[in-house]
């Protein structure tokens, strides 16, 4: 009698488990639904503590989306989950920098869950040949973690699709350019040095500086040049690769330290004409401002 009851209850348990077994798409939808309210952490937080806790909770979603990627590698949701994880890692890092700026106490500890590394490994191992990587290149451009460079280089060198290569080339140039800017800005601002160390680890800024000293600026220029020449017509989310790259090259070549300021002529707030060269003989601080 008792054995029969055990069998029946086991049968019921198995039946119940079968009824809630989710497909990868369902799991992804369920996790996304849970994620949505927590993704508004910065908007909803009002105190230092709420910001810190909101950020820390938000950050936990990256490994959770990555778990889906790893478990369902062949399912179409895997690439979606990977893209989501990439966005979370980027937002988590930029959010941390913001919280460090805003808070007076309750500073978040740097996240060291290895998500960035996992993302790169997964991408290079399972999706390197995909033709659907342009949106991922687009997201990777804004990442802070230096491991991301390997993913972008991998796509540029090994992916067979021209659109992906072009997107990766441009994203890599922009990614490195942003890192160079971070290094330069930190020269002048000690509070940034502290912040980068807290959020990204003590080696982050020294590594950026080392790259800068080893010719990063030339590397960046060469990448933009390659994007402009080899991938001129490739369309990406932000526009056309050739046009974007040419603008960046113009800025690098003409509007940089050591170059003559370009001739600038116009009208001032009183309607009077004047030129930048009118100030020859004086040191000029040229300030681009807006009222926003």
């Amino acid at each position: 009698m008792s054995v029969a009851i055990r069998w029946i209850s086991t049968g019921i348990v198995f039946a119940a488990a079968g009824a809630v077994a989710e497909t990868p798409a369902e799991k992804f939808a369920a996790l996304s639904k849970q994620f949505r309210p927590d993704s508004a952490w910065l908007r909803d937080a009002e105190t230092d503590l709420e910001r810190r806790e909101g950020l820390e909770k938000y950050a936990t979603y990256a490994p959770r989306f990555l778990a889906l990627v790893e478990k369902h590698a062949d399912d179409p949701i895997a690439l979606k989950a990977l893209r989501q994880a990439i966005q979370i890692v980027g937002s988590r890092d930029s959010g941390a920098l913001q919280v460090w700026q805003m808070n007076e106490a309750e500073f978040p500890k740097g996240v060291t869950d290895g998500s960035a590394k996992r993302i790169v490994v997964l991408l290079l191992r399972d999706y390197l040949m995909s033709d659907a990587l342009e949106p991922i290149c687009d997201r990777m451009r804004y990442q802070y973690r230096l491991e991301v460079e390997n993913a972008l280089r991998g796509m540029l060198e090994k992916n067979p699709h021209r659109q992906v290569k072009g997107a990766a080339c441009l994203a890599l140039a922009q990614f490195l350019h942003d890192k160079l800017r971070m290094a330069n800005l930190a020269d002048d601002r000690p509070e940034l040095r502290e912040r980068y160390a807290a959020v990204f680890g003590a080696n982050y800024l020294p590594e950026l500086r080392h790259r800068r000293d080893s010719g990063l600026a030339s590397e960046i220029e060469a990448l933009f040049e390659r994007a402009a020449v080899e991938f001129t017509d490739v369309k990406v989310r932000a526009g056309v690769v050739g046009e974007i790259a040419k603008l960046e090259l113009y800025k690098i070549r003409k509007l940089s330290v050591g170059k003559p300021a370009p001739a600038t002529e116009g009208v001032d707030q009183n309607g009077e004409s004047f030129k930048l060269s009118d100030y020859r003989g004086k040191v000029v601080l040229l300030y681009f401002w807006s009222e926003f």
Binding site: D188, P262, T264, G271, V284, L285, Y287, F288
Partner: protein, 80 residues
Amino acid sequence: MVGINAWTTDVEKLKAVMTEEDVPWRTFVGSDEINKTWNNPMTPTYFVIDHTGIIRHKWNGDPGDAAIDNALEKWIKAVE
């Protein structure tokens, strides 16, 4: 100090903004030519240009008063 307000292309409007915001420095009104030449930099962007017209410093974003003052001091000394 010379300003460029690339967003405002109307002289009257610029004058109004500058009066309201108490902006004292001479500012170029935005124009297609200026935007093209300087490539629509994000605001704030600062350039320090020495007395011969060479760009000596460039900052995207605010580097802080100390950095700007130090740079200006260095290049003003070069004139003397």
